[in-house]
Structure formats: structure tokens, C-alpha cells
Amino acid sequence: MSTTRKNVWELGGDWADPILWYARGVKAMKSRALKEPTAWRFYGAIHGFDQQMWQQVGYLGSTDEMPSRADIKTYWQQCQHGSWYFLPWHRGYLIGFEAIIRDAVVQLGGPAGWALPYWNYFKPNQNQLPPAFASPDWPDGSGDNPLYVPQRYGPDNNGHVYVPMDQVDLNALGDPDFIGAGSGGSQGFGGVNTGFSHGGRVHGGVETQPHDNVHGLVGGGDDQTLGLMSWPDLAGLDPIFWLHHANIDRLWEVWLRIPASTGDPTTANWVKGPASVGQRAFVMPMPGGKSWTYTPGDMGDLSKLGYDYDDVTPPSATPQMVARLQRLGVPQAEAIARSNAMAGPKTADTTADKTAELLGANQQSLSLTGAEARTSVTLDTAVRAKVVTSFAAAAGGGAPDRVFLNLENVRGLNDATVFSVYINVPDGDDPASHPELKAGSIALFGVRKATMTVDQQAGDGLTFVLDITHIIDALHVAGNLNVSQLHVRLVPRNPVPESAQVSIGRISVFRQNH
């Protein structure tokens, strides 16, 4: 029998039974000592741990007894980011956490079939933080609601927590490939090929959006006032983290159901995971003192794991490639047929035949301070001609190039920084009035550690990839692609202080052969 995860906003009330039982389970976990593997804080540290930050937010005190060195080495600081392991590792993390909450629920007399709800902020009128998480009180008015954390500052840094819909998107679902190239082209739906990656350089498609942005928008704060959700080393301490990640996990299932999607990787390194090449295993504490070791391959089939979601319907919009081919002058019927043909075999790791090539770059690193930063990307004439040629050939049966904006070596000290990127907004215009020119929004989840040479980081910062094919298509269709430069504007959600030291090493544009 499957355990079904359901939409938190559609459970029948702000404090519907599954939410109430979740709160009771969280309370039980929070009552356990840090050193216990099934404790709330222990599970949070599995995602990430930073002694100084934990002390700053009051989650580590002088009387806390740390777990054994063996437990820390086995379990803590495992989260996979900037990696093709991002989705499978977090799926296992959810399953382990859910098992522990369910165990506590059952011990308290609750339902054995309790399942973690998910928060689908994309559904109309469901982008507000679910009320049970926003109230410091239990439904009876008594205080100490374990689902509430004060260190959740929201997108406007005023404690009102919601997900602004202009800051998130589902564009990643349109990427047919799970694996990204990491060389300037698509970062893939699931991420780039890495080893064990507790903080990789290039975030994958669904990791960048909506994952990173929801973290930064919900957590808010800055490098002094730490919002738990904004920082990888604190995020697992916020009860809403788990509902957010259940939604990300659900989106994996949604993606698999999109006809153009090529499916999960089948290469041995992904299937068998980093332990197969001598790196750390993915392992979770489970109820009853047990532990569970899993591989990405174990996570691929959700139904075999005994789980499903109440809604995995793909977006009903016209498939991206169909819309694209139509933009480039291909009749609808032919566009549909060609889109299906391009989808390729469902079991292929299809990045092998895709190559990316630098098309242009700005001249020097860019500091992001205040309300906006601007730069210009100079295009190489010869490479631009290749793009134009591929576009022109699309009408005759060719596969048009895709074009990607890269924000390379992004450094900074505040993970809660969120900003949008626009291309060619006319001078004097408000970028927000040009959604058609928006390349995307980015949150710098994990940037501080990527900037400092700590843990597994070399200090190069993060690199983000945004698909700007739609903008280049529009330029081409309007006959305006014959330009030497693209003008890029970075617009932060909130003004960025100088103390955040946010900079982008290089902004570049790459073409990818389909």
C-alpha cells in the first residue's frame, strides 16, 4: 500500500489532523537530546551544521552533549547541492525524517499511515505560509507551537512569509535532460555530474528554481539576522523545510511524466552513488536505533518505495519545444511531431551528444550592491552567426540552438540574497514591467561557504545558469539578433548592502546545440 503525500493547503483546515500530528511529531523530536540520531537537531545537522551559526540562532548551547564522532562522521553534513545527487539524496532524507515523525505519531496514538504534506506554492492562493506554521500558538491558543520559528523573516524581511510569484518559476520542468553539462550549457533538470557534493559549484535546474529561491524568500534575513531557511547549515531546523522539499520531490515526479523528459540517469555513478567510488554513503538514522543506507538508484522509483503524491499533473502549457518551433516559424502539427522526435529515448543519458560553446561575455567582474547592477555582454560575431544559422534552419527541420546565460563565480556573504536577471530592458523602463525580458531569478543558497575556502569548497563561489532561449528567439524573430551586445540588469528583491560583498566574476552567454 502506498503512502500518499497531500497538499498542505487542501487537507481540510489550517490545523487539519495531518498537520496537528506533524506538530506533535515535531515536538517529540525536539524534546530529544542533540546526540540522539532521531532528534530534531540531529536531523537538521544531517543537512548541514555550523557551530557558530547554530549558537547564534540558539540551537546549540553550552550544555549540549555532542553526538559521538562516529555518528557525526556517518550522518552529519550530508546534503547534496550543486550535484546530480540533489534530488535522490533529499528524497532519502525525506523518507528517513518522515519515518521518524510517523513513529512518534504512532507512539502518541496517531494514525500509522501519517504522511508528510507538501507545500505547492505555485497553486493559486497557496503561496502564503500555511497558517499552522505562522502562528506561535497551538490551535487551542496555547503557546509553543513547534511548527513556528521566529527566525523566518520572509521575502520582505518583516516576518510576513510568502512566496512572491514573480520570484519563482517552473522553467526547469521544460528541460528534457536530467543531467547538465556544467560547461556553460544547460545545467539539466537534476544537476551536473559530481561526486559526493556537500555544496557543488553549479546548481541544477530544479535546485536553482524553485528550490533555492523558496529557501531564500521564506528564510529572509541577512548575514547578521539569520533566517533558518536561507542557509544550508540551518534550513533543516525549520519545520517548513520538509514541506518545501516534499514539493521539490513531487516536482521530480511531475518532470518524469512530461513526455519530453528523458528520465533519470542510468550511468553507474549515479545509480550506485558516491559510495561506489569510495566517497561517503547516503545514510539516515531510522526509528528503533536502525540506520538506512541508500543509493540514488534506490530512489528512482517512488512507487517501489511505497510513496506517491496526490497530484503529479504536468503543467498543461504547450511543451516548450513545440512553442519554440512555432515561434521560429514551424507549423503547429510539424512542431508537435518534431518535438516528440527530439524527446529521444526515455532511458538515455542524453547529454553526451550536446555541446556548449561560449557565445559572449562581459568584460569584468560585477559588484551587486544597492537596488540594481548593470553590465553588457559582448557577443562574438562568428558564434552569433552559428546561432542565427541554427534558428533559420529550424523551419527546415534542423534543431535550433538553446542559449544560456551564465553567472560565473558568484560570491557573497549573505545566502538570503535574491535577485532577478533581465536582458535588454530599455533604459528608463522598470524591469518588472518586462516579464518577457526576464532571464530568471536566483537565490544565493550556499554562497557564503562557496566563497570561503571551507568544507569542500575551493572558494570560487557558485555558478548559475539561466535559459534565455526565449529572449534570443524573440530577438531573432524581430530581426534584432544582429547586435554586438546584450545588456544585463540584476535587480535584487531587497537592496543589497555592501557588507554582503555580492559579486559576479563573469557573466557569459553560451549556445548549446539543441
Binding site: A99, S276, V277, G278, T293, D455
Partner: protein
């Protein structure tokens, strides 16, 4: 299953050919006693212990020493160039890739040639000052061991993993490729110098020492950056790979159904 097998990229083939060519020359050279000059001559196995320094230098001209050192670096370091060169090439215009590759290698090689002068001078001086071989080798091995566990070694290793932003156009792109080569070469020399020094002192076992050091530095480069600390570090990942493969075959992992309540 996926077809991730791609034809090897041409630049990788060239790089591998250079490395293999250098190894072949060294291997062939050993039979003719033309290994890197210092190594075959500057030790008790190949040289009278009381050979004066000026005579040693006369027998082994700086040009010969430099040529042999370059051959050694080409053989040992080419595997370490794959990751930084991939970064250089990925982030450069296609038409500039050969140029950027050469510029990076020029910077990298320049650092190693300078390091070679210093290391060979130290080795020659050591052999001249302490004719007895074992104390000389022992001191070098002790220095290598100390450096190996030091935070400074980790600092160098971490910097070996750096992938900086690179300008795309014109002179700035050339400058960045050279500077990246220089900085990567400096980090690499900083990480490896202490391993190279005893290798210069082992005499006729030199080729085997080279192979061992090459395997070791390639294996330790597989490790991720880590915090600076005094710590035993080495080729653990290669060993962990073998151990993990064995463990996975001997003990199947726990299944989810067995651990759920």
C-alpha cells in the same frame, strides 16, 4: 542504458600522448642511463660520493638538467592538467581554445621549471654537503612527511581546485590564461615539491619513485578541498574506492522495508 561513451576529445588525446611520450623517453632512457641527470649521477649509486659540486655541474650541464626536468614534469604532471585545462577550454571561445591552452601550459610549466632549478639546487647541494646517501634521503623524507601533514599542504591542495573567472576577449583573455597557469602551477608545485625532493635522491630507483609519486599526487588531487589542519592526508580515496567496492560486494546494504517501523 545510456550512451555516455564519447569519442575522446582531441586535446585530451594530445595531452595523453605528451604524457605517454615523456614516460616512454624516460623508460627508454633508464636503460641507457640517461635518466634525469641529477638522479642518475648525483647519488651514491651512480656517482662517487666525493664528487665536487663544480664537477657534478660540469658533467651535467644546466641545459641537460633542465631538459631532463622538463621531461619529468611532462610525464608526471600531465594528468593533473586535465581539470584546469577543461575549465580553460570550456570558458574560452572555441577558436581561442588552442591559444588559451598553450598559454595556460606556458604559465604552469614556467613555475615548474623555476621550481626545478630550486629543487635540483637543493638536491645537489645536499648531496655535496652530505655525501652519505641515507641521511640525505632521510632528511628529505622527513621534510616531505612534515609538509604532507601540514595545513600549508592543504592550502596548496585547495588552491589546486580553483577555477577562476577568465576574460573572454583579447589581451585580457591571454593574460588570464597565463595567470591561471602560473597560479595553478604555483599551487601544484607547493603541493608536490616535498614529494619531488626525495624522488631526486633515490638514484636508480628513480623511475619507480616517479611512478609512485605520480600515482600518489593524482590520487590525492581527487580529494575535495578541506579545512586547513594538521592531518594525515594522502591517496586515501583510491584505497576507499577499493574498500567500497569490496564492501558492497560482501555486505548488501539495508533495505528500506527492513528498517521502517
Amino acid at each position: 542504458m545510456a550512451n555516455t561513451a564519447r569519442r575522446p576529445e582531441a586535446w585530451l588525446v594530445v595531452l595523453a600522448s605528451i604524457g605517454l611520450g615523456a614516460w616512454s623517453m624516460l623508460a627508454l632512457g633508464e636503460s641507457e642511463l640517461t635518466l634525469p641527470a641529477l638522479c642518475s649521477a648525483g647519488t651514491p649509486w651512480g656517482t662517487p660520493p666525493s664528487l665536487p659540486l663544480d664537477l657534478a655541474l660540469m658533467l651535467h650541464s644546466p641545459a641537460k638538467l633542465a631538459a631532463d626536468w622538463a621531461l619529468m614534469v611532462a610525464a608526471m604532471m600531465t594528468p593533473l592538467l586535465v581539470a584546469p585545462l577543461r575549465h580553460v577550454r570550456d570558458r574560452s571561445f572555441v577558436r581561442r581554445r588552442p591559444r588559451a591552452t598553450l598559454l595556460f601550459i606556458s604559465g604552469y610549466a614556467a613555475v615548474w621549471m623555476i621550481a626545478g632549478v630550486a629543487l635540483q639546487a637543493v638536491a645537489l647541494a645536499a648531496l655535496w654537503a652530505v655525501p652519505a646517501p641515507l641521511p640525505c634521503l632521510g632528511v628529505a623524507a622527513a621534510a616531505a612527511s612534515t609538509w604532507q601533514v601540514s595545513p600549508a599542504k592543504q592550502w596548496c591542495l585547495n588552491r589546486c581546485h580553483r577555477q577562476p573567472q577568465l576574460a573572454a576577449f583579447g589581451a585580457a583573455a591571454d593574460r588570464d590564461a597565463i595567470v591561471f597557469g602560473l597560479t595553478n602551477g604555483t599551487s601544484c608545485a607547493g603541493a608536490c615539491w616535498a614529494l619531488m625532493l626525495p624522488m631526486l635522491l633515490v638514484g636508480h630507483a628513480h623511475l619507480w619513485a616517479m611512478i609512485a609519486v605520480t600515482l600518489f599526487v593524482c590520487a590525492e588531487r581527487l580529494e575535495s578541498p578541506a579545512p586547513l589542519a594538521w592531518r594525515v592526508r594522502g591517496a586515501g580515496k583510491a584505497l576507499r574506492i577499493a574498500a567500497a567496492q569490496t564492501r558492497m560486494r560482501l555486505a548488501p546494504q539495508g533495505r528500506l522495508r527492513e528498517v521502517l517501523p
